[in-house]
């Protein structure tokens, strides 16, 4: 354990040190202006550094500023408060989870169609790739408006955008996974005259499990990105994306960073949850420890 933790801590410390130094450097010009205006000259370096780490709207907030913003905006607030990042995190999380569920279902369905039908294999794959080259942020507002005009608002449009991003890794992974059984494993079932359904459930599906989980890990992280992007185009209802946006429009850099870190934490937790599900399934499937 220790030989895993120590390197990570070392690197984290290095990053922190670099960050504090960068904060001094990047916030210095503005601090100079402030000090000049307040007729403060020859500020000792230690004091100057402390000043740059305590600006209201710094170019680069110091780590402790971000941490205290996160603390103030989560633990220190009622969870139902609209200022609470926990509240906004929950909104984003629910869109993420719904979008992830849609995306995984769609991805698996497409993969099944692709491996079972030559025509869909040939016709779908290039367009699925092309679909991912469309800048999602560009169509997100139109999707929100379009769905709004047919009465779908709130969670669903966000979830659909997150689905649009997250189905892709699932299709790609599952097509690979469902095709991963070797010829000999398929031949074996043929000698038993197994039907298509049996081939799917007894061979292809279990063989695809590792691929499914690998792509779900990518997919859930991307789902979160999708939800954030959708919120950038739809300020109503809140969410971490909205906090990023309003933070950006009000020059509230500390707020931006805090929202980013909460999003990062969410992503890490979600990936970890999928990872433990994977471990559990692996155990049930008797994989090597």
């Amino acid at each position: 354990m220790a030989n895993r933790v120590i390197p990570v801590l070392t690197i984290l410390l290095a990053i922190l040190a670099f960050w504090y130094a960068a904060a001094i450097w990047m916030n210095a010009p503005w601090q100079d202006r402030l000090n000049a205006r307040a007729d403060l000259i020859d500020v000792p370096f230690a004091e100057f550094a402390a000043q740059t780490w305590a600006q209201d709207k710094p170019v680069l907030p110091a780590p402790h500023q971000v941490v205290s913003e996160i603390w103030n905006a989560t633990v220190a607030l009622e969870i139902t408060s609209r200022r609470s990042l926990a509240y906004h995190g929950w909104i984003t999380l629910s869109a993420t989870l719904l979008g992830f569920a849609f995306g995984t279902a769609l991805g698996v369905a497409l993969a099944v169609a692709i491996i079972h039908n030559d025509a869909s294999d040939r016709s779908l794959m290039p367009w699925i790739i092309a679909s991912q080259t469309i800048p999602i942020l560009a169509i997100a507002p139109m999707v929100v408006v379009g769905l709004g005009s047919v009465g779908l608002t709130g969670l669903v449009p966000k979830a659909l955008i997150s689905m649009y991003l997250s189905f892709f890794p699932v299709v790609v992974g599952m097509v690979k996974g469902l095709r991963s059984p070797e010829a000999i494993q398929l031949d074996l079932l043929r000698t038993y005259d197994a039907n298509g359904w049996q081939v799917f459930w007894k061979l292809r599906w279990p063989a695809a499990m590792p691929f499914l989980f690998a792509s779900m890990k990518v997919g859930i992280a991307i789902s979160l990105i999708g939800a954030v992007v959708a919120e950038l185009s739809n300020a109503s209802g809140g969410g971490l994306g909205v906090r990023l946006l309003t933070g950006s429009y009000n020059g509230q850099t500390v707020q931006i960073w805090a929202a980013l870190f909460i999003a990062a934490g969410l992503a890490a937790i979600l990936v970890a949850i999928v990872g433990s599900a994977e471990k559990w399934v692996n155990m049930r499937m008797g994989a090597r420890a």
């Binding site: 205006r37 300020a235 209802g237």
Partner: protein
């Protein structure tokens, strides 16, 4: 109760205090209206929302409304509570800009997304090219804050009196170290936050009646906000879903916005209207003088 949906032009803030107060204080209920207020944002075009049927009434700038009318969304102005523009361009004194003639060769920050028309109309009037050619200005798509000025990425930036200008004041800028170009004072203002509806709905007397009651209640809201700025600011903060609105800032904004709004008279001022249309035509933002782009049935009914 008649259900109406209002699409705001921007995020929930005191710029829309009248509507938010009217909703919060129950003025709409008194008029037997069930109003839903949808906040906007940087990627939401109210014109697109109303064209898709997502709203009944929108708040937008006349330039954007007229441009939309030409691209096939028949919007009609039914009321114009904002009489003046809050738009300004500010230049820190370090840039050495003191008058319009100093502009060429400098970088100016401009908001797009339908907010760029007044600027281009102004430059057009001054004869300053904006296409990057010799003797012209460089135009930058500016973020909705004052960072470009603080970081020196733009020499002059766009601000609203009631919003970003406040941020500039907070940051230690002020009239003594800024050159300020106020669009209204220069006579270059184009009509801002008006209320627009789809043309075909005006054929329905019941709808017109609902609009009339809506405008009436909204103006009551504006009047209330004018008299009780603190309470109005609190209401705005309370109604902001995102939790980003700060009381101090909203209080400042209420104070500034109420200078632009005439709470007693929502009618469209024809002089400003004509000037706006002319500027849009000059700038080729629209190609023909619009017909039927406004109606006074609503405001007349209130008289």
């Amino acid at each position: 109760q008649d259900a109406l949906t209002l699409q705001l032009k921007w995020v929930t803030q005191a710029q829309f205090a009248g509507y938010l107060v009217a909703e919060s204080k129950g003025f709409y209920d008194e008029e037997n209206l069930d109003v839903t207020i949808l906040p906007g944002g940087p990627n939401i075009a109210p014109e697109q929302v109303i064209a898709g049927g997502g709203a009944d009434i929108i708040v937008t700038w006349m330039a954007a409304g007229m441009a939309a009318r030409e691209s096939g969304v028949p919007l009609v102005n039914i009321a114009q509570p904002f009489k003046r523009s809050g738009l300004m361009m500010i230049c820190p004194e370090e840039t050495g800009i003191t008058e319009v003639a100093d502009f060429p060769g400098h970088t100016l920050g401009v908001w797009f997304f339908g907010n760029e028309y007044p600027f281009f109309a102004w430059m057009n009037k001054e004869g300053i090219p904006t296409d990057g050619s010799e003797g012209g200005v460089n135009v930058l798509q500016q973020s909705f804050d004052i960072q470009p000025m603080i970081q020196g990425q733009a020499d002059c930036i766009s601000v609203m009196t009631y919003n970003e200008y406040g941020q500039a004041l907070d940051a230690g800028y002020g009239p003594d170290n800024l050159t300020i170009f106020n669009y209204t004072d220069m006579g270059n203002d184009l009509l801002e936050d008006g209320l627009y509806v789809m043309e075909d709905t005006l054929d329905d007397p019941a709808k017109v009646d609902a609009y009339t009651r809506f405008v009436k209640a909204s103006m009551k809201g504006w009047a209330y906000a004018l008299e009780n700025p603190e309470e109005a600011a609190e209401i705005v903060v309370e109604m902001d879903d995102t939790g980003a609105a700060e009381y101090e800032h909203q209080l400042y904004m209420v104070g500034e916005v109420t200078k632009l709004v005439d709470a007693a008279d929502p009618a469209l001022d024809m002089d400003t209207y004509d000037r706006t249309v002319q500027a849009l035509l000059d700038q080729e933002i629209i190609t023909a003088t619009p017909e039927g782009a406004y109606t006074s049935v609503v405001t007349d009914a209130l008289k």
